[in-house]
Symmetry: C2
Subunit: 530 residues, 2 copies
């Protein structure tokens, strides 16, 4: 494969042109109904990306397209799909896309076709989930499993948890019930496992231990926590080994351990925050909802992935979303982006995107380790609407910083029961609020009373679809993954490592082991000592 040139954002001629171009007029002056009707891109999975309310006229979008072209962003994405070493710091390929199908040539490693390997793991999970659902695999005391508890942290927690919550009501509505309830234990705070264990019946619970390395402190501690609680339960015949499966890498100390009913594998080419479509999300979601639901979810992600190969920025939603974000971050100077889903089912989706984005692109050096002289990833936060309207929207409307907004909405609810009050259903009210907020942020409203003045021209985008189905959810997830990677390419950073989490981990370990630590650290340890 021909090597693509990598260069810093500020070295790109197209970036200099973007920076020196006269800025577009205020958004409020050029946002028209026609723009709303035409500024749409098919994002895959039944989703549409609408950028009418972005601070970007046609000439700006042309400049962004030139930037994507000069930096060869779609080509870099294609190279990633093909197995180029994109995680430069750790010298690894980045292959989470292969969990949803092969879009470029096959990727081989040490003679193994990795696409086949990931698919094989999902088939094994499917088979295992089927055995659990039909009672062929039961708990150690002979009772069927009714609950599943994932033990994992970071990418082994946030993505799968957000996706579980996103689909729970949909599955209950369409199939009458879910196969199993899912819970999650993540924090090393003992209050976390104690809480979750108070909610489940150990005889009927299957635990999934998720740690790629097999060495994550919190996760191994919580595994032991669960085992101890089961041992002390006093239930005759209860054997923790009969209640736990593992998702880990084949090289981990946990692989092929006799302490698990079954083990499913990932590898170093799938980073934690990108692992929701691998066995990390696949095990818990297939157990909770069945393999068919998970397969639909993967199909939706694959559709969005295919769209991201498109070279025309006007047809590539995640690429345009990425470059509009670069414009807002590097030219307009916005330090924060908000994720605002008008869907209660997406209550924890912003928390997943917070990890995905901030851990990927919160970097200060380029992919070669050289310091950067421009801003990289913004802070990401968000809560569902309409709840957020009664919380932090005040600052978004009238605060002293502009925060670009990413709205998400669906024409229909997941659940079917609804009521009419004052001439409209709850779902209509939800979406009227969403439409009204976009308009209010963009257009504002002048008022002589400064306190009631809305400056407007606060930019937003809207990702919308018919209903939050597994397919739509897969596309939604993949859209943001691809957006984050495109931004990483544009910033010329490595979006796939996380060296910034190491120092704290090392210091905590030293303090716990009684090793020689700095006087400052020792003093803080003392403050918190019971």
């Amino acid at each position: 494969m021909s090597r693509i040139e990598y260069k810093n954002l500020t070295s790109a001629e197209a970036y200099r042109k973007l920076k020196t171009a006269p800025p577009p007029a205020e958004l409020s002056s050029f946002l028209t109904a026609e723009r709303v009707q035409t500024c749409s891109i098919d994002a895959g999975g039944g989703l549409t990306y609408n950028y009418a309310a972005k601070q970007a006229d046609e000439s700006l979008i042309r400049l962004l397209g030139n930037l994507a072209g000069e930096l060869r962003l779609p080509e870099k994405y294609a190279a990633l799909l093909s197995g180029e070493v994109m995680n430069t710091g750790e010298n690894r390929m980045v292959l989470h896309h292969l969990t949803r199908g092969q879009l470029q040539g096959p990727v081989l490693f040490q003679g193994r076709n990795l696409g086949d390997f990931y698919q094989k793991q999902q088939e094994r999970i499917n088979e295992f989930a089927g055995k659990v659902h039909t009672g062929r695999v039961k708990g150690s005391t002979g009772k069927p499993f009714t609950s599943v508890v994932q033990i994992g942290i970071g990418g082994s927690d946030l993505g799968p948890r957000a996706l579980y919550l996103a689909l729970k009501n949909y599955v209950r509505e369409t199939t009458g019930n879910t196969f199993m309830n899912a819970h999650f234990i993540s924090n090393v705070d003992p209050d976390d496992p104690n809480e979750v264990l108070s909610l489940v019946d150990p005889e009927r619970t299957l635990f999934i231990l998720v740690t790629k390395s097999g060495t994550t402190q919190e996760t191994l501690t919580n595994r032991q926590f669960v085992v101890e609680v089961m041992k002390r339960s006093g239930i005759a015949g209860l054997n923790p080994k009969g209640h736990m499966i593992a998702v880990t890498s084949e090289t981990s100390p946990l692989a092929k351990s006799p302490d698990f009913l079954e083990s499913f594998y990932i590898d170093d080419f799938i980073g934690g925050r990108y692992s929701s479509t691998s066995a990390v999300g696949g095990a818990v979601l297939s157990l909770a909802f069945g393999g068919d639901v998970f397969a639909e979810f993967l199909a939706g992600a694959r559709e969005a992935d295919a769209k991201a190969l498109e070279k025309d920025i006007r047809k590539n939603a995640s690429l345009l979303d990425a470059l509009l974000g670069i414009y807002e971050r590097n030219i307009l100077g916005c330090p924060v982006t908000a994720i605002l889903p008008y869907s209660q089912a997406l209550s924890r989706f912003p928390a997943h995107l917070q990890q995905l984005d901030m851990e990927s692109n919160g970097k200060q050096v380029n992919r070669d380790g050289k310091p950067l002289d421009y801003k990289t990833g913004p802070v990401i936060f968000g809560e569902p609407g309409t709840n957020g309207q009664h919380s932090f929207y005040q600052l978004l409307h009238q605060g002293t910083d502009t925060v670009p907004l990413q709205f998400i909405g669906f024409k229909n609810a997941q659940t079917s029961f609804d009521i009419e009050t004052e001439g409209s259903s709850s779902q209509k009210k939800l979406n009227a609020n969403l439409a009204a907020q976009i308009a209010a942020f963009a257009l504002g409203k002048a008022d002589a009373n400064g306190n009631k003045n809305f400056p407007g021209s606060r930019p937003s985008s809207l990702l919308y679809g018919d209903r939050l189905t597994p397919r739509a959810l897969g596309a939604l997830l993949a859209h943001f993954e691809n957006k984050v990677m495109f931004q990483g390419f544009a910033w010329n950073i490595n979006s796939f490592d996380q060296e910034g989490v190491q120092l704290g981990k090392v210091l905590a370990g030293a303090l716990l082991k009684g090793k020689d630590v700095s006087a400052v650290l020792a003093a803080y340890g003392e403050l918190l000592n019971s």
Copy 2:
């Protein structure tokens, strides 16, 4: 009472001195163990505020003290307690403090002692909760109430929900069980009430309708939603009126309605985001945990309130916290602050502070409605540690913006069961991580490999206590309320109104009613129409 002068931050001589003073050396150069041991302030309720790892040496703190003095911040706080009209835009007093006791002279309004009024409401709630707990008040089909569901949004949801989650395990641990399980319905998305209603038995559920004005669209819609579901349940004798109480103002259309078992009152002097210690939080928390637990919580809040009257900035934790935040926002230019509790029980506490802070101080005009030429409230976000360490901490350590951090920790867990692995308990591991993170952020670690280089000097504070008890939680809440108000005084803004939420509400209403709306809004409405 003598009128205190109000002036913009940038008009203060002490602010000009702060701005022109030579900046302190880098935090990493002056943070010592001695600082850790000495830079502590008793914050009330058993909490300690430690500011050792703030970018503030003694001379800077002196300048902040001068600023507090010139702007007469403690005097403004005292005036607020005494009933001065602090909500200038709406011409209202700000009296949520009176729900936890009277710290200055009595506040009278139309002949009524408002402190007595709020206390009376809490006594009525106590009495009612006692009747529910002992079965003297039962559901309409004769079954005891075992669950309580709060219907409210914004301040009627975020604070009470965060506090319920914060105390649930504590109460279970200390009393064996809670009196009632609590759930919350907030979003107008029909998926929200459908989900919650699938979790409770209507015959055994008491609903609390919380809306001060009695006109909140989402809340009234969800009330009707609940009533419709009960009507359609087919359960003989099930009467919605026997399952619902109200928390509202005496002037609301809901007041004294025969549709409620009982009504408890608040008034316009308690803003939604400051209402957790009023009947808004009191009803659900007293029903779930009993009035004694709620009384301890109020006592803790009162202790923190009393501390905030202290004029010496070195003895007033919320005042110092506020001014360090002003320094970070206006001099250092930091646009975001993170709230990082090392306690899983505080999982939703950052979401509450997000509203409290961003809705209070996300303002662009001063208290007289004049535009400001300086930054006001930052974006607030956060998640519990250690979870966040595996998520967004990468950006906090190595991103291109400095994000000031507010850590919260407790020496002991809420639950007592814990295990030892590798020589330490889970709780020790949790706190070792907390100490290590503070040290890592502040001190950094130089590395020739840019990717492993930690710049350090990233400032943080630590609020810590022995255990997250109701008393500690009350103080924690009040600390942040007082911090936010002190910042509002310093910025010379009105922290008690929220005009920025009006425009979207009006536009959504117009769209729903089929009124004449802008073509842009109509076009967005069309996109989302099913």
